[in-house]
């Protein structure tokens, strides 16, 4: 594997509140290589979007990075002043959000937004920027790009708008794209088009993508590696094939079993009892222990870290026991 483009080391994000500090992300570490798509999956409240927001420096106050570091090409970006971060965001890190309507300014034409973004980051003339904008729209699969560039966002359909958002994210040829639920608001046929577009763009531009989604199907299809998050921690990480077909963590096993399968082989879905804990009531030991079917004494006392098992790593004492590698 080539040197990592993005490294996240022991990231901890806290929200100070009147009733004490809530730990929203705890000891999250991963890296992404150039040209790689890392899928980050988890249910609502797992902290996956927060991880993305921390990387692009758009953590909403009072949330703050309490410890850990984020490195882009070996350079720390988590402690940069807002001005310096603004130069990196857009230029080196592009962002795609869930709702394409709210990521675009309804009062400006698509072309104006693209040209502005391009000229903010690259030293080009107005005409060159416009040419580039048309090329970008064409590349993201918008028909009649020359004509549509002068239209407003409301004149585009949902799928087309998301293409515009992707074109915006790509405008300055960033090395990393953080895509937070990019297909969740779209219909399946459009979702398929957007996924293949993202895959093609990583291949052609060599950009790395952090793909945040709750949809395992999207992850399976698009990503190379996957990180499964639960209650603010990464509980399992590894190549997508291994995590899906041979999940090691009981939460991942439950998550996979609860998805209705397209081959119709399951009569009854596996269910994980209970729900994800609230941030102010994360259980001691392993956060998953009250819902875990294979819980034992140690899980209630000690919190497991990621431990290697086969091709993946899982934060589970079962793994520690099996390999004898318990720390």
């Amino acid at each position: 594997m080539t040197a990592a483009l993005l490294e996240v080391r022991h990231l901890r994000v806290e929200f100070p509140t009147r009733r004490g500090t809530l730990v929203a992300l705890d000891d999250v570490s991963f890296d992404i290589a150039p040209g790689e798509i890392l899928g980050v999956v988890g249910e609502s409240g797992a902290g996956k979007s927060l991880t993305g927001a921390s990387i692009i420096g758009l953590l909403e106050p009072p949330g703050r990075i309490a410890s850990g570091e984020i490195l882009l090409e070996g350079r720390r970006i988590d402690n940069l002043p807002p001005d310096a971060m603004r130069g990196i965001r857009g230029r080196q890190i592009g962002a795609i959000f869930q709702d394409p309507l709210t990521s675009l300014n309804p009062l400006y034409t698509v072309g104006r937004q693209l040209v502005e973004t391009i000229r903010t980051h690259l030293p080009v003339s107005e005409a060159e920027a416009r040419e580039r904008a048309v090329a970008l729209l064409r590349e993201t699969g918008i028909p009649a790009a020359e004509a549509r560039i002068d239209q407003y966002p409301h004149q585009f359909s949902g799928g087309m708008r998301q293409r515009v958002v992707i074109a915006l994210a790509l405008a300055a040829e960033p090395k990393l794209i953080v895509a937070d639920e990019p297909t969740t608001a779209l219909d399946v046929s459009i979702q398929a088009q957007i996924i293949s577009l993202l895959k093609r763009l990583t291949r052609d531009h060599g950009a790395a993508v952090m793909l945040v989604t709750h949809d395992m199907g999207v992850i399976a299809e698009a990503s190379d590696r996957v990180a499964v998050m639960y209650a603010g921690r990464v509980v399992e990480m590894g190549p997508v094939q291994d995590v899906i077909h041979r999940p090691a963590h009981p939460y991942t096993v439950g998550l996979m079993g609860s998805i209705p399968s397209m081959d119709g082989s399951r009569d009854r879905l596996l269910q994980i009892e209970g729900t994800m804990p609230r941030l102010n009531a994360i259980p001691a030991g392993c956060a998953f222990n009250p819902r875990c079917p294979r819980v034992f004494e140690r899980c209630r006392r000690e919190r497991p870290n990621l431990m290697t098992t086969g091709a993946t790593r899982a934060a589970c004492w079962l793994v520690g026991q099996a390999t004898g590698a318990a720390a």
Binding site: D187, Q191, A192, V218, S261
Partner: protein
Amino acid sequence: MTTLVEAVDLVKVFDVSAPWLNRVIERKARQQVHAVDGVSFSIEKGRTLALVGESGCGKSTVARLLVGLHEPTRGQVRFDGLETRMVWNSSEGRALRRRIQMIFQDPYASLNPRWTVREIVGEPITEHRLATSKDELGQRVGELLKQVGLAAADMDRFPHQFSGGQRQRISIARALATRPEFLVCDEPTSALDVSVQAQVLNIMKDLQRERGLTYLFISHNLAVVRHVSDAVGVMYLGRIVELAGTRALFGEPRHPYTRMLLDAIPDIGMTGRARTPVQGEVPNPLDPPSGCSFHPRCPLANERCRVERPALTPWAGIQVACHAVTEGRH
């Protein structure tokens, strides 16, 4: 098996014209959208029919027509042999409402935040006079909550004290309160996380088995549909383009749109597979294409498809609305 619910050539037209003054000044014509355009199906007692399709295909409008929230522009809904349009407004309407209930998509919007669970689940019981005393009412609410996997003690709490999955169970308990025979479920799990979705789907299946409930299940998620339904109707721009048993539909999809939909779903079993890209998107329902409304996106379209609209016809054990399939061009 007897047919419990039947839709016969249902049509719902919405007037989406600009206001009168705008029409006069800007010389705009009246605009109508055919949200549901000739939909027919029947559901047997104790079975589940699913309607699938992308946003704007009219599936939720069908659901609303069935429970009487919209009145059909044309066509009929028959329930247990009765034509419902007449019944809703008559003295029999109350009895019919008891027998047909609905579960909505968003468990955050469909429960009154200022009511306790006892009031929410108890309201249909009081409304239909199914309990004689306060004690009986409380007991009945408790039983209902237990059936959906909640505790009877939960009844004095408010909706905000529950998670999304628990709220959706409260919705189910409320729908079950009148001992209905037919439940219309409009995307009951799309607002939920997958592990919670599994809990809700399992409960729905168990209840069907225990009480012989009949479901109309509306969803855009084909994997969920495959899991819960006995038969599936695929909708596109207000019409059913394919209606078949679940096994037949997923095993051998006939209509090009069904095939496209099935091909488009990312499935966890298919990591890194190359797929045929889906072409185009759903056209504007205000200005649907001529002939078969799918023809601009269809790989099999020819001149006939552009001109003549195919009707839903029985073909090889299923029903399909496609010239290419019935002519053997695929």
